[in-house]
Symmetry: C2
Subunit: 476 residues, 2 copies
């Protein structure tokens, strides 16, 4: 691990080579993102004509920038690499301040041409000579929310602090995740660091993982990967992080056909998937299958307490979605039905409408559409106070009669009250459906309680929480 990686996330001064006045260009968006993120060191646009961009004084040569430049983001065409290196070289001779590069541009080794390979090698040689660290080429950049630094060309990232960090081999998949978070009910998901490694000409995925995994603000680590020539070292690195915090992995190339496509894309050897799968499981690393599951699981690991066991109660206001949830739980093989005390059952009968169906079967209550917001919350409290319950799926479907926002605020207050008494168990709110329920989901998510669109998504996230908790307890 090289401490120089810190300059990728928190440089004291930076420049964007290939900056542009055109909002459709990456070289514009990168400048805009750095400015918008609240970065308080100087940032300088560099372009052929030395244009000013977004009110910042522009330069035509990196060597001429008067302030300190610890990081340069390069978003000019690959063919401008010789000029880029010429300017950098002169800067290093005089100011010798550059510590890191982000090469956002594409058209290097990944396209397999002699020129592309040559440009990439020239970048690597230069970095070695000056002990500069580089991510890319062919990546979308890096973000550090706590350092107020967003050096990507992804439009409209919500810079909200949280405990998730993400390392992605694919820029598109990284962007996919951030766009999903921006479109979530609260408009943001809290995170810490985000980095895409692209061609990995210098910093590879293992080094990025080691660096980001050591970040104290990172409470859960997410990874998208297509393959690695160092599969054993990769799994060991992930396993070592997983001893300290949950690690969630989306690895493609699961099938022979997918592995072939991966080899064509990044030249990655996907390796024998069953071997990967077994090794990940053995190390207590959570493996997920979809972007939704990656996101849901990271959010749950970041904000929910780990369950003490696998006894999850299904508290549902609608029969069908509740049965669906039970099916998904049973299908996952990760849950057992809690048996609550007679006192709890009696309390549920007291707080719920008379037509509610309670513990028939055990571990399941259908409180019916007659239940008010208050009754939803009161029933949840009874369950969370029962020692036989490790967690609760809380399922509700929008109706005219139910004030979903009042219900959401009630849950937030309840969780605060219980936490102050030392009771902390995961609640998985599934609030159905669509735009109609977004305001209520936003209330919960703004209070760091993740919500789910459907029972199956909630069940997968909770099953992953249980897997991690169990692997920690067994000392995996």
């Amino acid at each position: 691990m090289d401490a120089n990686l810190s300059f990728l996330f928190a440089p004291s001064g930076c420049a964007v080579f290939g900056a542009s006045k055109d909002p459709r260009k990456a070289g514009h968006q990168i400048v805009k993102n750095i400015l918008d993120s609240g970065y308080d060191a100087p940032v300088t646009p560099v372009s052929l004509k030395g244009d000013d961009v977004l009110g910042l004084a522009g330069y035509s040569d990196l060597a001429d920038i008067p302030h300190q430049v610890e990081l340069v983001v390069m978003s000019a065409p690959a063919a401008s690499t010789p000029m880029f290196l010429y300017q950098l070289e002169r800067r290093m001779e005089v100011q010798h301040d550059v510590k890191a590069l982000i090469i956002a541009a594409a058209g290097f080794a990944e396209i397999g041409t002699e020129a592309g390979i040559g440009y990439q090698q020239a970048l690597v040689d230069f970095c070695r000579r000056y002990s500069i660290r580089m991510i890319g080429p062919n990546c979308v950049g890096a973000v550090d929310v706590y350092e107020h630094f967003n050096a990507t060309f992804i439009a409209d990232i919500a810079m909200h602090p949280g405990g998730i960090s993400v390392v992605s081999q694919s820029g598109a998949v990284g962007a996919w995740l951030l766009m999903n978070w921006r479109s979530s009910p609260a408009g943001r998901v809290g995170f810490s660091k985000f980095v895409t490694v692209g061609n990995m000409a210098d910093v590879d995925i293992i080094e990025a993982l080691e660096y980001v995994g050591n970040d104290e603000r990172t409470r859960v680590m997410g990874l998208y990967i297509e393959g690695s020539p160092q599969a054993r070292k990769l799994v060991e690195t992930l396993g070592s992080i997983a001893e300290r915090k949950p690690v969630v992995v989306l690895k493609v190339g699961r099938t022979e056909e997918g592995a072939q496509a991966a080899a064509s894309h990044t030249g990655s050897l996907a390796g024998n998937d069953a071997v990967y799968d077994g090794a990940l499981k053995q190390h207590g690393i959570i493996r997920v299958r979809t972007i939704e599951e990656l996101s849901d699981t990271m959010r749950s690991c970041d904000t929910l307490p780990l369950p003490a066991g696998n006894r999850f109660f299904v508290l549902t206001q609608a029969g069908g979605p509740g049965i669906f949830c039970v099916d998904e739980m049973a299908g996952s093989g990760k849950f057992s039905a809690p048996v609550i005390t007679q006192a709890s059952k009696s309390k549920l009968r007291d707080v719920l409408p008379p037509i509610a169906s309670i513990c028939e079967p055990e571990g399941h209550a259908d409180i019916t559409a007659a239940a008010t917001a208050r009754q939803h919350v009161d029933a949840l409290e009874v369950l969370l106070r029962d020692d036989g319950v490790d967690g609760v799926f809380f399922i509700t479907v929008a109706t005219l009669f139910l004030d979903l926002e009042e219900m959401a605020e009630g849950i937030v207050s309840l969780m605060e009250k219980l936490a102050s008494e030392g009771i902390s168990k995961p609640v998985i709110p599934v609030i159905i459906s669509g735009n109609w329920v977004k305001p209520a989901r936003a209330v919960l998510e703004k209070n760091e309680i993740p919500t789910f669109e459907s029972p199956d998504r909630g069940v997968r996230a909770a099953a992953n929480l249980i897997f991690y908790a169990e692997s920690r307890r067994s000392g995996a």
Copy 2:
């Protein structure tokens, strides 16, 4: 099958018993929905005080309504059943015009009390006496888009005509589906009939399926079911419909635990799931596992041509999501990789950026983020014109540089042009991600081309299309 069921969907005059001025009551929303849907026969609110509702003259007695009343929707508390039947009886003695009832209210046999069971039996006895047909109790009602009739209490249904019809045992699941459709990029999904059967005191799910399955405007039939005491007859009914049009089934109670929860909810016997599963498959009935898959598959069956084979090409603008798609395809076991002609490969090279990766491996092209909107569409055209291609997954991730709406409009024009030449193949657009891409997805969806949030959802819908097409070809 009883022709009287038509009065549930297209009555010449109706009344709402339990109508309310309070927008939070079902008895208000039902009146509002009937009005808003453009229904052109009279609708009359009936309540204890005879209040006017939404400008409509109110009555306190069904017997006093001067116009024809073929359908009565009942949304008053179950305890008002005796008064409801008393008024109905007087009406039948004099006007004898009521042909159908929708009992939206809950609190009948489903809650298992003597009173609830008694009220339901009284309704059934009355219906038998006068040959009146009834859905419910404990249901959310019925919709017929083409008849401009929405007799449900679901807020904000988009009444857009299409070929999907849905029969749901659960009101909540039915509402879930309609709320999802309302929240889709175009704000609506076209459908024909929608009905939830609730307690099935008179019309059961099989009869509802037979009636709706015979609707000529219904091109695809969707079903949510928890179980049936007549499992064999149910499967045969579905199989008979599937000979004429695709049938998509979401059946819960897959697991023993889920079956127990279902038995508690509607008293349904879920039956042996493996037996159901085999019988459905044998009859060429599509079985899905989630609400998303139900919706995606119904939309695809309604608007996409059935593929002539299973050779689906992956045309992707981003490496990672493309590999993910290939993995999902291979995992499903339903696809084979198309081998396009040398001429097509050469055309792809002509229209695509030089850095594009074409047919390495076969059946897959990564056109890269350098591809313009025009290049996306031109590549799609080359593939759809190749006789070796039965369908295309078209995957793109939003970037600053790509005009997604121009691309979407290009696809619409291309599909029209090809259709006019007799070329009609399914294209599965996966446009990533979130709010950012909704305008482009709306362009496609307004032109009846369903779009997908992630490759896995597109793959499942296409695999279901292939399953149905194969079962038709083999005469299942």
